[in-house]
Symmetry: C2
């Protein structure tokens, strides 16, 4: 592999106009591919991808040059794509899910930049987004991603473990729903155990967890567990692990994270806003209400350090907040549609 | 609104078999809609959605009953869908992006559960995933989501501000790429300023930021900024804000987060693995290597507290790690494809 061999010092106006199409094919069923993804593969002279993903689009490949690569050969795939595009060909680089999420978009731009490519180059690049594994898996298990979430890859092939562990710890502490990509392989078996350990320090043992294998593919399998029994599940390279936040429930075989309507509306009794809350407005504990409360508490003698501890926020942030003028009266702001 | 009025105590075998299809239409251009999303709308007798999203699928609505709702009427939309499905109709509930990501999947299940619905009910539910705003915006700006990322909504209409602030702080500290949903509205203007403040405590002022408005729609606009100048940008209800991690670069008008190949391979000099690293294997600073290092440091007298501080990880985690038997020799594990 040698991306530097392809380096060009300036755009060559006579170069043939090739294209690299970075295609996210979605979960893998043709039904869940976008029109543009399908059209991009149809337009391509050459299709490059990991052998498993190439199989998923087998019925779209007739008459095309197909380059099948191994799992860890992302840079090779990008170099092959650039070489073919330099010859004026249209190349579809296939990623499962979304090309931008742990997909080929990143490594391809890294190789292109290294090769001296710029957007003015004869080779044009287009990224075609798709539903990533987290979107597909969520759709199959219920509605786990209805609130703030993180995607974290447990693969340490390119990322030092402390970086991964700090992210796991931060996500667990701040109550994000989490999707774990690349949770386990034949060789990497302890990462998921460490992830579980970091989460159990912050979340209840019975926090709902879903392990989804081969979403929307032939061997699809969904296994509901709890954080405590997560590691007993069959987890492999085709699995995504979804860990709920502190409010996520498993009910009737569906994993659902409440959006927060119960914070504002009385769902049991007609759906009206609770006392002190207004439909279509920030919560009474939203930013303005919270700021007013913090200022009042401080005025009545609560120290900034105590406020930081009470709200589990950095002291510097509390100090900066206290130093700001108080929030404008929300009623005076022009109404908008939200 | 009264979901409880629809409650049924047990599945009624004679009830008409209606369906609720929770459709994620992707960013909004028909090209980026999946085949299944399009088919679901075609199958529907009734289409329910926020008025702006209904407009995006206007050409698919001929002959259908269309129910247009306001922005904050998510529960009403779900109640309307359930009422129509109870009459045996097929109802498509439209979300932009992915139905599961801040979309209608969550509120719909909340309303269904409240109404006594179970998966055995005559009304069947299907969620059709799509590319969310973060996938679409990422595809337009380069490859910002190539490494671990978070999605955080700045709307405090249903979420207390300290919850949002803690997540912003955790994401910033643990070096996640972050996508901010609902960053600002006519009424909510200070949330984005607070988010910037929390990020600047952890990230460089020149961290690349992209503000993407109406991705893949008629008024699409992309504005590249830095963390320092973020708040000078035109940000509204149709904007998504992408904040890079500490390695993200803006180069030739493209925002790219390196995947980490440079940690392992010498991209400048032929692409071979760096000294001490092996292609297709965990990094030397991956879990096994890191564990070995921590154990060795501890054996040579470094305290657990010092190790926790050095690696910015919880002391309890370091103590648990030190208490585990050492990692198995990776060479003895059966080889797999990763």
């Amino acid at each position: 592999m040698g991306p530097q061999l392809l380096r060009t010092e300036s755009p060559d106006q006579t170069a043939p106009k090739g294209r690299i199409l970075l295609v996210g094919i979605g979960p893998g069923s043709v039904d869940h591919m976008t029109h543009r993804a399908r059209a991009a593969i149809a337009e391509a002279d050459v299709v490059v991808g990991y052998v498993t993903y190439i199989k998923l689009v087998a019925d779209l490949l007739e008459g095309k040059e197909v380059v099948r690569k191994g799992m860890t050969e992302e840079l090779d795939r990008a170099v092959s794509a650039l070489a073919a595009a330099r010859q004026g060909k249209t190349v579809a680089l296939i990623s499962s899910g979304d090309a931008g999420v742990y997909g080929m978009a990143g490594p391809t731009y890294e190789v292109l930049f290294e090769a001296g490519w710029t957007p003015d180059d004869a080779v044009q690049v287009e990224i075609i987004p798709g539903a990533s594994a987290l979107n597909a898996c969520a759709a199959l298990v219920g509605a786990p991603l209805t609130h703030d979430f993180c995607a974290i890859s447990l693969s340490d092939l390119l990322t030092p473990w402390p970086v991964i562990a700090r992210r796991l710890n931060a996500a667990a502490a701040a109550d994000f729903v989490v999707a774990l990509y690349n949770p386990k392989s034949g060789r990497r078996t302890r990462q998921i155990v460490e992830a579980q350990r970091l989460f159990l320090a912050h979340r209840r043992a019975d926090t709902p967890v879903a392990i989804v294998k081969s979403a929307y593919r032939r061997r699809q399998n969904i296994d509901f567990r709890t954080l405590e029994t997560l590691c007993e599940a069959d987890i492999g390279m085709l699995s995504t692990v979804l860990i709920g936040n502190s409010n996520t429930v498993l009910r009737h075989g569906l994993m659902v994270t409440p959006r927060g309507y119960a914070n504002k509306y009385d769902l049991q009794d007609g759906g009206g806003a609770r006392a002190g809350e207004k439909a279509g407005r920030s919560l009474s504990t939203g930013l303005d209400g919270w700021l007013a409360g913090v200022l009042a508490d401080h005025a009545s003698g609560v120290s900034a350090a105590d406020l930081a501890q009470r709200h589990r926020l950095p002291l510097d942030y509390i100090l900066a907040t206290l130093a700001e003028p108080s929030a404008p009266d929300a009623e005076e702001v022009t109404q908008d549609t939200e």
